[in-house]
C-alpha cells in the first residue's frame, strides 16, 4: 500500500510485517522514532505475539536480543552513534555466537565533539565486527532491505545491520510502498535456529575457545560472509519476484556502465549525486555512479566487474579513518589492486554538513582533472583550520578546538555581513 510517511515509521511497519518476537528499545537520536513506533504497534496489537523490552542502555538492548535470539525468538533492535559504541562488546558477541539479530542503525556521527547529525562513523566503527552491513539509499529501500535482512540473517545465522542515513532518511517523509503481510509471509519463513536454549535438549552456548580452534572459528565467520555475496543477490531476485521491486543486492549502478569516471558511494547521498551527474553527462562528461549496498560482505568481484572499463573512480564517503584516510576508498582500492584504475578518495558530509549539488559538481570537475588531493576533504574551510593551527602554535593553553573554530566561524561570518 502506498503511504506518505516518515522513514522511521516506514521501517517500524516493515519490521512489524516480519513478525518479530522480541524487540528491545532504548532511545537514541535519530533512530528513536523507529522503536517508539514499534512500541505503539506492539501495544495496539498490530504486532501480535511480541515482547517489547524497555531496556536501561544500548548494551542492555543488544544483550537482551542475544538472550532472546539464543532462545529461538526473532529479535530486533535499533541504535545510532554513541549507542552503537556503548553496545560494541555485545555487537561482536552476537556475531561470534552466530545469532541472527537484525538491527537498524540510524547513521550518525560519533563524538566528541558531540554531534547528533548524519555521517557513517557509527556503522564504520563496527565494520569488522562480523555483522552484515546493508546500506540503503531511500526509505523504500529501507523497508525492502529490512524484510530481506531477517531472511538473510536467519539463513546465514549471522546478525545484520541495516544502515540508513540519520535524519536524511529516518526523519524525511516520502512515498513508500508498504508491502502486504501475505507477501512478507511468502518471502520470509519462520525462524528456525541452528542452536537454541531448550531444557529438552540442553547445550552450552558461548563457552571459551582457545588458540586450538579460534582461527577456524574466525575463518568460518569470514567464509559465511563470503557466502552471503551469493545469497544477497539471490534473495534480492526472490524479493523482486514477489514484491515487484529491485531492492537490495550487492551494488547498484546509476549509468556507470562504460563511463570513464565512476563515482562510488553508499546510502542516500546518491539521490543528490544522480542529478549532478546527469547534468555533467549533458555537458559531455563520461561519468556515472554506483552505490555499494552491501558494505559487509564487501562485494570486491562485483565492483571489479562493474569498473572494468572505468579509468577513474571517485569514492565519496561520510567517514574517516583518522590517521589513514577514507575507509570505503581503502576497501575499493583493495578490490581494484590489480587494475590501473585511479581511485580518488573524498571525505564529505561529516557530522551532517550539507552536501550540495554545486559543491559536488565543483569537486567532481576537480576530480576529472585529477586534481583532488589524497584524501580530499569536501567543502572544508582551510582558512579556519589554519587559523586554529596558528593559535595552537602561539599559545599552549589554546582551548577547545571545536569551540575556537565555531567562534572563529561566527566572527568571520559576522564580519562578512558588515
Amino acid at each position: 500500500m502506498l503511504k506518505q510517511i516518515e522513514g522511521s515509521h516506514a521501517v517500524a511497519e516493515a519490521v512489524a510485517l516480519c513478525r518479530p518476537e522480541v524487540i528491545s528499545a532504548y532511545p537514541i537520536t535519530p533512530q528513536t522514532h523507529i522503536v517508539e513506533d514499534l512500541g505503539t504497534l506492539v501495544k495496539d496489537g498490530t504486532i501480535e505475539n511480541c515482547e517489547f523490552l524497555l531496556v536501561e542502555s544500548e548494551f542492555g538492548a543488544l544483550s537482551a536480543c542475544i538472550g532472546s535470539s539464543a532462545a529461538g525468538a526473532r529479535s530486533y533492535t535499533a541504535t545510532s552513534s554513541q549507542g552503537m559504541l556503548f553496545m560494541m562488546e555485545a555487537v561482536y558477541n552476537a556475531s561470534g555466537m552466530g545469532l541472527p539479530i537484525v538491527m537498524t542503525v540510524g547513521n550518525r556521527a560519533i563524538g566528541a565533539p558531540i554531534n547528533i547529525w548524519n555521517d557513517w562513523g557509527d556503522s564504520m566503527s563496527a565494520r569488522d565486527a562480523g555483522w552484515l552491513q546493508l546500506f540503503v539509499e531511500s526509505n523504500q529501500q529501507a523497508v525492502d532491505v529490512h524484510i530481506q535482512a531477517f531472511k538473510l540473517a536467519e539463513e546465514l545465522s549471522l546478525p545484520v545491520m541495516v544502515c540508513m542515513d540519520g535524519f536524511i532518511l529516518t526523519h524525511s517523509y516520502s512515498q513508500v510502498d508498504i508491502p502486504e503481510q501475505s507477501q512478507v509471509d511468502e518471502f520470509l519463513p519462520a525462524f528456525e535456529p541452528r542452536q537454541v536454549l531448550d531444557p529438552a535438549a540442553p547445550l552450552s552456548m558461548g563457552a571459551m575457545v582457545g588458540p586450538e580452534a579460534f582461527t577456524e572459528v574466525r575463518f568460518l565467520g569470514h567464509q559465511k560472509q563470503l557466502d552471503a555475496l551469493d545469497l544477497i543477490p539471490q534473495q534480492a531476485a526472490e524479493f523482486e519476484a514477489i514484491f515487484g521491486r529491485d531492492s537490495g543486492g550487492l551494488i547498484k549502478s546509476f549509468e556507470s556502465e562504460g563511463a570513464e569516471t565512476v563515482v562510488i558511494t553508499l546510502g542516500s547521498v546518491i539521490g543528490t549525486m544522480k542529478e549532478v551527474l546527469a547534468g555533467m553527462r549533458d555537458d559531455g562528461h563520461s561519468i556515472g555512479a554506483l552505490t555499494i549496498r552491501s558494505f559487509r560482505p564487501f562485494p570486491s568481484d562485483a565492483l571489479r566487474a562493474a569498473l572494468k572499463d572505468a579509468k577513474r573512480v571517485i569514492v565519496f564517503e561520510k567517514c574517516l579513518a583518522v590517521g589513514m584516510g577514507g575507509i570505503v576508498s581503502m576497501n575499493v582500492r583493495m578490490a581494484l589492486k590489480d587494475s590501473d584504475t585511479l581511485v580518488q578518495s573524498v571525505i564529505g558530509g561529516l557530522g551532517g554538513r550539507p552536501i550540495t549539488r554545486a559543491g559536488l559538481r565543483r569537486m567532481f570537475e576537480k576530480g576529472l582533472r585529477d586534481e583532488l588531493e589524497e584524501p580530499h576533504f569536501h567543502d572544508i574551510n582551510m582558512d579556519i583550520v589554519n587559523r586554529e593551527l596558528e593559535r595552537e602554535k602561539q599559545q599552549r593553553r589554546s582551548g577547545s578546538v571545536a569551540e575556537n573554530i565555531l567562534r572563529d566561524g561566527g566572527v568571520v561570518a559576522a564580519a562578512k555581513t558588515i
Partner: protein, 339 residues
C-alpha cells in the same frame, strides 16, 4: 521418623561443631535436594574449580534446588568469571542444563531476553536464572542488573559473592570488605588493605527496587540456601539471591575451611542472612553462637595484617561493622521457642 526411600542417600557422618542436624535425623521431606540420589547434578563433576571452591559448592546447591523447583525447566545465563571458566571450556561442559555465556556485564540482560522469548513462545513454565560473581554483579553488570530489577523481568539473579575478582587474580571489587588484601589493595602503607567506607550492599540496593524477593544465603547452611532458592522460584518477577562463597585462593584460607569460614562470617555478624519481600525485610537468620570477628579473620591471610597490634583500629572497625549488622537486622534476638 519416616522410612528412608531408595532415592535417599545414606548419610555417613554427622557434621560436628554446628547446629545443623545430620540429614538422616530428618524427615524425608525436610532433607536437602543434595541428599537425594535423583538430584539433577546440573553442575556436574569434572569441572576445574580450585579445591575448596565455595562458588562451585554454592552453584551446585542453588541450581539443583532451582531445577527441582521448576521440574528441570530452567535456562541459565552466566556472566564471565570463575564459574564460567571452570565449568566450560569447549568442548567440555559441566552443565547438564541449557546454559549461555555472553559477556561479563550483561548476564541479567541476556536472561531478560531469554525470559521474553519464553513468554512470547508460551513457555512460561521454563524459568530463567542469571548468575555471576560479585564483580560481574556489583560492578560491571550493575547497570543491566538494575534494568532487570526495574522491569521486574521474570529472572532469578544469583550472585556468588567471594568479595573480589578472583578469576583475574584477586583484585578489589565493590563487594570487597574494608582492610581486605587484594592485588589492588595491598596491605602496605597506612591503613593497609581495602579502604573502609567504600563498597555497596547490593541486597539492600535490590530491595530498594521493590522487587518481589531478595535473600542472602551462605554455603555453610545448605538447607537455608535450598529453601531460599525454592522460595524464589515460587515467585514471578525479578528476584535476587546473594550467596556467600569463600574463596581459598583469594582469601588465603585452607580449602578445608570453606564451609567453616562461611559459618563464621554469618555467626560473627559480618555476613547477615536476610530475606525481603517487596522491599521489606521478611526474615532474618538469628545467630545462635555469636563469635568475635577475629575468629573469622584469623583463618584468612587476606586479613593477616589486621591482627597485628599496629592495626588494632582495623580490627575494631571490622568488629563495629559486624556489631552494626547485628543491631540493624536484629540478628541476636533469642526466639521464644529457643528459650
Amino acid at each position: 521418623m519416616s522410612q528412608v526411600s531408595d532415592s535417599q542417600q545414606k548419610v555417613k557422618f554427622y557434621q560436628t561443631g554446628t547446629f545443623t542436624a545430620g540429614n538422616r535425623l530428618l524427615d524425608e521431606q525436610h532433607r536437602s535436594v543434595q541428599a537425594t540420589m535423583d538430584r539433577c547434578n546440573s553442575l556436574d563433576s569434572g569441572h576445574r574449580a580450585c579445591q575448596g571452591c565455595g562458588e562451585a559448592l554454592g552453584a551446585r546447591y542453588a541450581i539443583d534446588a532451582a531445577m527441582r523447583a521448576t521440574g528441570n525447566q530452567l535456562i541459565a545465563a552466566n556472566a564471565t568469571g570463575c564459574l564460567e571458566v571452570f565449568t566450560t571450556p569447549y568442548p567440555e561442559t559441566a552443565w547438564s542444563m541449557p546454559w549461555i555465556h555472553s559477556l561479563f556485564g550483561n548476564a541479567s540482560a541476556v536472561a531478560s531476553g531469554i525470559a521474553a522469548a519464553m513468554k512470547v513462545k508460551g513457555r512460561e513454565d521454563v524459568r530463567v536464572i542469571a548468575q555471576g560473581g560479585d564483580g560481574g554483579t556489583t560492578d560491571i553488570g550493575f547497570g543491566c542488573l538494575s534494568g532487570t530489577f526495574d522491569r521486574n523481568d521474570d529472572v532469578l539473579y544469583i550472585c556468588y559473592n567471594n568479595q573480589a575478582y578472583m578469576n583475574t587474580g584477586v583484585q578489589r571489587s565493590s563487594a570487597t570488605p574494608g582492610a581486605a588484601r587484594t592485588a589492588t589493595t595491598m596491605p602496605v602503607g597506612e591503613n593497609p588493605g581495602n579502604v573502609f567506607g567504600t563498597g555497596k550492599n547490593v541486597p539492600l540496593v535490590a530491595m530498594a527496587h521493590q522487587i518481589p524477593y531478595v535473600a542472602t544465603a551462605s554455603v555453610h547452611d545448605l538447607h537455608d540456601l535450598e529453601y531460599k532458592v525454592t522460595r524464589a522460584m515460587e515467585v514471578r518477577g525479578a528476584r535476587y539471591i546473594e550467596i556467600f562463597v569463600p574463596c581459598p585462593l583469594g582469601w588465603g584460607s585452607k580449602p578445608g575451611d570453606t564451609v567453616k569460614l562461611a559459618r563464621l562470617a554469618v555467626e560473627s555478624g559480618m555476613y547477615p542472612l536476610i530475606e525481603a519481600e517487596d522491599g521489606e525485610i521478611s526474615g532474618v537468620t538469628r545467630i545462635r553462637n555469636r563469635v568475635n570477628v577475629e575468629e573469622y579473620l584469623k583463618l584468612q591471610r587476606r586479613f593477616a595484617h589486621v591482627l597485628k597490634p599496629a592495626n588494632a583500629n582495623q580490627l575494631e572497625q571490622l568488629q563495629a561493622i559486624a556489631d552494626r549488622n547485628i543491631k540493624r537486622f536484629d540478628l541476636c534476638r533469642v526466639e521464644e521457642e529457643q528459650l
